[in-house]
């Protein structure tokens, strides 16, 4: 349970930024 919490919290901390990088790349590609 503890590992699950840490894993989930870590994803909540890190993944939005990672996803954002890809989303911005996609948008830039669309702009081009």
């Amino acid at each position: 349970f503890d590992e699950l919490i840490v894993e989930t919290a870590t994803r909540r901390k890190r993944w939005p930024k990672k996803i954002l990088v890809h989303a911005v790349q996609t948008m830039k590609a669309e702009q081009e």
Binding site: D2, T8, K13
Partner: protein
């Protein structure tokens, strides 16, 4: 119900409960180790006393008695410490937002609003594409106009050339000179007729 303290885990990188458990186990180990050292020293001392009547199991019983007492207090004190640390130190107050989540409050978009935003993007992209297509059509027409204008100017040029020819051969105003030409050719016809009649 267990409070997973996930938001604290997001900040600390571990759950506060794990941290407390880590401390509890380590402290408890130290207490046990110390008790074993105490007991070891006593047994060693007794071993050196000739005719000593105290048996190791007696010492062990004393150790257990003292440890039991210490453990009770240890657990009581530790749960108080845990409660305080979880409340005052290892917790994130309800009104606090972690920096990485600030965006959530700066742009509180519901699903519908976000979808509307996405739709607007789609629409803007389509409009941009439509504008590009329109520009291409307009540019194509401008190219076409260039060709047409060139052709029309060529035709106009023909008229100008015609008039220049006339002018070069003394016929300044074409209309007058054409009228003049018509008259003089009419005169010529009259004269010709006249001559023919006379010659008969």
């Amino acid at each position: 119900s267990v409070d997973p303290m996930a938001y604290e885990a997001q900040f600390f990188g571990f759950t506060p409960q794990t941290c407390m458990q880590r401390i509890y186990i380590a402290f408890q180990d130290h207490l046990f180790d110390m008790m074993l050292v105490v007991e070891g020293v006593m047994l060693k001392k007794l071993h050196g006393v000739p005719g000593c009547k105290i048996s190791p199991s007696q010492i062990r019983k004393c150790t257990e008695k003292f440890l039991l007492f210490m453990k009770e207090h240890f657990d009581k004190l530790f749960s108080k410490m845990e409660k305080m640390l979880l409340q005052l130190v290892l917790n994130i107050p309800k009104n606090v937002l972690l920096p990485e989540d600030r965006v959530q409050e700066q742009y509180p978009y519901s699903q519908e609003e976000f979808q509307a935003l996405q739709d607007e993007l789609q629409q803007l992209q389509q409009q941009c594409r439509a504008e590009v297509a329109l520009q291409q059509e307009l540019l194509a027409e401008l190219e076409e106009q260039k060709v047409v204008k060139a052709e029309l100017e060529k035709i106009l040029q023909c008229f100008d050339d015609l008039e220049n020819i006339c002018r070069e051969h003394g016929a300044g105003n074409f209309k007058e000179s054409f009228a003049f030409l018509t008259q003089s050719s009419k005169k010529l016809q009259d004269v010709l007729k006249d001559v023919e009649e006379k010659s008969k």
